[in-house]
């Protein structure tokens, strides 16, 4: 083979998308959606998340390198409810991939059909902070919603790849069975949490609280996305002392300095828990996420050893 032929072959291999030889390409905005897509897609899909689990999904940058993933994608799955409003729409517009535009079969908003809390019925403005008028977007933190998302992804994969519909159905069935078994374990663990009144840093845990019987009674942030003022901190400290609130639940991407200062003054425990798959290296699956959150919460209950 002449050197020219080798050069042409090398160029062609660099330019031809790998899609021609691979399974369905799924790009998700978060690692939670990626874990669910892998669970129902199995070996038939290649799944790539954009935001990592240790990253605040509100503040992802629309890097051009993400376009490389999106322009070859067969299916795009987003959390929706404007969680990704600052970056996903511009990425989709610039991806040059009509297969994954809203309305196309390759676009899936995972929030549809899920149990969405805090939908705003009345007037909404930014005096409330960076609110999400369509509902709280952290809904994947309820396993029942995880199941709903998995079902929708499986159904969409079957539409896009009808030849393997039976495989996706079998994978979904296995996921449902495994989830039901895990939920029994989680329910047993969460018995100790029922009725617990807690503080969270950001308003991102309502679905988790509802599912496992916790009650979120205050926040470290003044409003969603707005840092605490001195007056708010003073009021929060007074609230914690008065009601003897046991713990502050927060994500690892927020600065723990203020919560720890509040803990120093009140004795409240600060629990830094993963809000997403991938937030810690060991959290590979959707089940790992709830295992870890419940482990951290129960280990920090009043009376438990810190």
């Amino acid at each position: 083979m002449s050197s020219m032929k080798i050069l042409v072959a090398l160029l062609a291999s660099a330019l031809i998308p790998a899609r021609a030889f691979a399974a369905l390409r799924v790009v998700t905005t978060t690692e939670d959606l990626a874990a669910l897509a892998r669970a129902v897609g199995g070996d038939l899909v290649v799944v790539e998340p954009i935001a990592r689990g240790y990253q605040d999904p509100h503040f992802v940058e629309a890097k051009p390198s993400y376009l490389l993933k999106l322009r070859r994608a067969d299916l795009f799955v987003q959390v929706g409810l404007e969680l990704e409003a600052g970056w996903a729409p511009s990425l989709l517009t610039n991806a040059r991939n009509p297969r994954i535009h809203p309305g196309a079969p390759g676009f899936l908003d995972a929030s549809e059909g899920c149990d969405i809390l805090e939908k705003r019925a009345g007037p909404v403005d930014r005096s409330l902070g960076d609110v999400h008028p369509l509902g709280n977007p952290h809904y994947w933190l309820d396993p029942a919603n995880g199941l709903r998302i998995a079902r929708r992804i499986a159904a969409r994969l079957s539409e896009l790849d009808g030849a393997h519909a039976a495989d996706y159905a079998a994978n979904l069935k296995r996921f449902e069975t495994d989830l039901a078994a895990r939920e029994k374990v989680w329910d047993e663990e969460a018995k100790a949490l029922r009725g617990l009144r807690i503080v969270t840093y950001h308003n991102s845990w309502p679905n988790l609280a509802k599912r496992f019987g916790l009650e979120v009674v205050d926040y470290v942030e003044l409003r969603p996305g707005i840092p605490a003022s001195p007056a708010h901190v003073a009021a929060l400290i007074a609230h914690i002392k008065k009601d003897q609130l046991p713990l502050i639940l927060m994500e690892p991407y927020f600065d723990p300095k203020l919560p720890r200062k509040i803990a120093g003054e009140t004795g409240i425990r600060v629990v830094i828990a993963p809000p997403s798959v991938g937030a810690e290296p060991a959290l590979k699956t959707y089940f790992d996420l709830f295992d870890r959150i419940l482990e951290l919460l129960t280990a920090n209950l009043p009376g438990a050893r810190p």
Partner: protein, 367 residues
Amino acid sequence: MIQRAVLTALSLALAVPAVRAQSAPSALQSSNLLNPNVSVIGWFQGEAGGRSRGAGGAEPAAFALREAELGLQSVVDPYAKADFFIAVGGDGGVELEEGYLNWFALPYGLALKTGKFRADFGKFNRTHPPETAFADRPLVHERFLGEEGLSGMGGALSWQVPVPWLFVSVDAQALTSPEAAEVPAFDQARKRDLLYVGRVATYYDLSESVNAGLGASGAWGNAGQDIDPVSGSSATLVSRLGGLDLTLRWKDPRRAVYRSAFWQTEMLWGRRGAPGGSAVGAKGLFTHVEYQFAQRWRAGARYDYTELPADGSVRETGGLAYLTFMPSEFSLISLQGRRARRQDGSRESLAWLKMTFNIGPHGAHPF
């Protein structure tokens, strides 16, 4: 005239659903859902210090509404998206800053844009003035591309090179040629003159936290006419611009809310035809560094160097420093100071208080 017609059409398009809604309540929801996203950016600015006579232009009032920018954005159909940005200046003048249709669903990695838009010359020129980090514009942009930057009516074809491991974009644009009063580097010789702009840009993630963008731009257009006073014959003068831009960013995704750093440098070279068959070469650059040191605080500095496009032997230099506080994602207050040495050798010291706010749906984070 065209701008007035566009504005009239826009106001009619927006007014009609509202009128219908009064008589048909059921239509109200539908029209609201299908209305474009409406947003307004307000830009108020205070200025202190004395402007040099060598700077040119009128001295602004101590406090001024620099601009109120109305944005109307919506998907038109499965194939295209429309973006309109209408700027109202402090003097009450209304201008269509940008208004274009973007066909984003074309095959082969292509996209097509038609309408009025800011040219893809460098990175800074694409940013709307209220949304830049500065109360002013870098001297090289002010001197070569004017107070508002390079924009025009026309068409743009954009292509993403299908290499799976590197982002590379190629853009080619043809725009109506600006007049020298707007963009000093160019001057239309005839109404139908066009300005051609090309850009090749690439982007690479050096690590999860650090990324780099590199771009090369070129612009080619007319620079007025050379009329021979004796024979009366005329020849069109040509002006060419070349630019290089480098952007480096750092942001740890684990602490993205609190810390970030940004460094951008743009260099520009111009060669402009002059009467008698000669040509004037001129160049300039700015380099800008910004550090976010807390969730709501940023500090930055910029160095400016420029020669005048009509006379490469005359130069200006300057430096800007600023401290910006952002109460939320939707507003900012910035205290800025700039020292500059102007073309006549005079020194100029200016201070600004820039305030901007954004109402409407959550827009895209700038990148």
